[in-house]
Amino acid sequence: MEIFSGILAGFQVALSWQGLMFVFLGAVIGTLIGMIPGLGPITAIAVMIPITYGMDPALALMLMAGVYYGAAYGGAASSILLNAPGESMSVPTTFDGYPLAKQGKAGKALAIAAIASFVGGTISVVLLTLFAPALANLAISFGPAEYFALMLMGLLTVAGFAEGSVVKALISATLGFMVATVGIDAQTGTTRFTFGNAHLLGGIDFLVVALGLFALAEVSSLILERKQGSDFTRELGSLRLTKQDWKEIAAPMGRQSVLGFLIGVLPGAGGTIASFLGYITEKKLSKKPHEFGKGALAGLAAPEAANNGASSGAFVPLLSLGIPGSGTTAVMLGALIVLGVRPGPLLMSDFPDVFWGVIASMYIGNVILLILNLPLIPYISKILKIPRPMLVSLVILFCVIGVYAISFSVFDLFLLVIFGIIGYFMAYFRFPAAPMLLAFILGGMMEQSLRQALTISDGSLLIFVEKPIACGLLIVAALSLAVPLIRKAARKNKTDGSMNQNV
């Protein structure tokens, strides 16, 4: 009954007028930013952080969570209308969404995307309500050794599942960890890698890294695409679904919501893998696989349900363990730490308003988004008409304000630009940026728990083998690196892997 009373208390927070207002704001802003091609949820949340300064942590997280799943809803619109996915997780939405729009059924496609997102979001929030407290109760017994193993596992799975080269992903994780070692060491007070610069004593702020690597680096692609026509004059058509349509999408939505949630819980495997996997499995299960890619309704509903399921799933490790499983949740973790909330297994008992309030707000947020998206879609999609040159200037401005408002230091702004340049070259040479950000945020905590664990064991590394949970987690960590390597080797033998064939 603990869950029941908890979620009731959560609804009290979420249904207060402030709660409702921030969930609504978050959902609207998330939808708007998510729609803009090139801007994903990470940027959306990072840009919101300065606004949350001094806010009540529960409300701040509700706002950011709203932005997060709002962006997952909004991503569908640009995929369907422009064939321009906002980010990788809405790529499968274009496969059947854009053909539908070309057939003059854009309205129906948008409606299905909104309904599938709602179903995916809601089913997975129910699962989140049940899962997160259970995991938090389990994690209370964790010591530093277990924590270190857990964070290492999270980091390595993110690197292992990253697109492209695993070596490059590991390099970017190592670099992120190195950036985290700059500043005064918390345990001994030694200054490390500051080059005598007083601005670096406190370490580099996570917002500098997050906004630089993601938002500012994305600006360059916005600049390159600035002349692309953002005009779609096509009629949207009716939003109405027939009974036959409902029949077609019901089962895929249900299945993919659960699957998406489970994938979202796993560290490293987020919305992108969920939506691709959702698309592929539904194509395999379908009685009419030849329709996929030509405007199959199930092919549109499946990835949307899956990526929204994964968005809520990603909150399980964040809320119950205090460990982000993806770049986006890492940004939220950083924001919570700025607000003085230390996420972890004790979050549920120490800050029940944050823990349960956020979960409750997600039920409400999904309803708001459904209401918002269905009738208002034709009007909201006008945001796609914002001229790109103006968008570029505004994104840069929001990055600069975000950093300046937390540090009041021009030095940090130059650092922001440096990370923007690093992010640009990383994207150019196909180094994934998410492992770097994650390693940067986890780095400090990992070093601390590693040294605590070794202090307990008097310097012996055997502590990681003797503790069964820690040992198990480390084995999973090793496997998560080995599996992609083996998979890659297998794919080399069989030149066209099933993934390429289907997509």
């Binding site: 080269s165 190592t174 890698f193 600049i223 001229p387 040159p389 600069v400 196909r430 590693l450 202090t455």
Partner: protein
């Protein structure tokens, strides 16, 4: 030896790792600390060295599906970078309002948006709204610079 991008990058990374290691080894040591402040950096340095070695022998994958950026677009990106640096450098001298208005209008114009009326309205409204939000609502004072308010 340096015929692929991966090889060039790996050499750069190796140099970075060595520099980082040198600094890590020169960190002061304390007695009675089981794991000192230099332990993790040393491990990281060697890890990066090892990984850059792997990268050296890896085939490039970054050209796949990548569109080459034309030269004049590179100049545009560099110019925007220059504007951003100028914006930052002048932020505390001229003040938030003035620099932001100039940056928004100038950068948007430069990137090819020619509707100057709309541009001007946005370039004035957004900074004013942000300034009001921070100064009055959030009580965070942004630099005033040479303007009296």
């Amino acid at each position: 030896m340096f015929n692929t991008a991966n090889k060039k990058i790996s050499v750069l990374l190796a140099l970075l790792a060595i520099g980082y290691l040198v600094m890590a080894f020169r960190l002061p040591k304390y007695p009675y600390v089981p794991v000192d402040a230099d332990a993790v950096p040393i491990v990281l340095g060697f890890l990066l060295l090892l990984l850059s070695g792997f990268l050296y022998f890896q085939k490039d994958n970054h050209q796949q599906g990548k569109i080459r950026i034309p030269k004049n677009e590179k100049i545009v990106i560099l110019a925007v970078l220059g504007f951003v640096l100028l914006f930052i450098a002048l932020l505390e001298i001229l003040g938030f309002l003035l620099t932001t208005v100039l940056f928004l209008f100038g950068n948007t114009w430069f990137l090819g948006y020619r509707n100057w009326k709309r541009n001007l309205i946005v370039s004035l409204a957004v900074p004013l709204a942000i300034y009001a939000l921070f100064d009055y609502f959030l009580k965070i004072s942004l630099p005033r610079g040479i303007l009296p308010f």
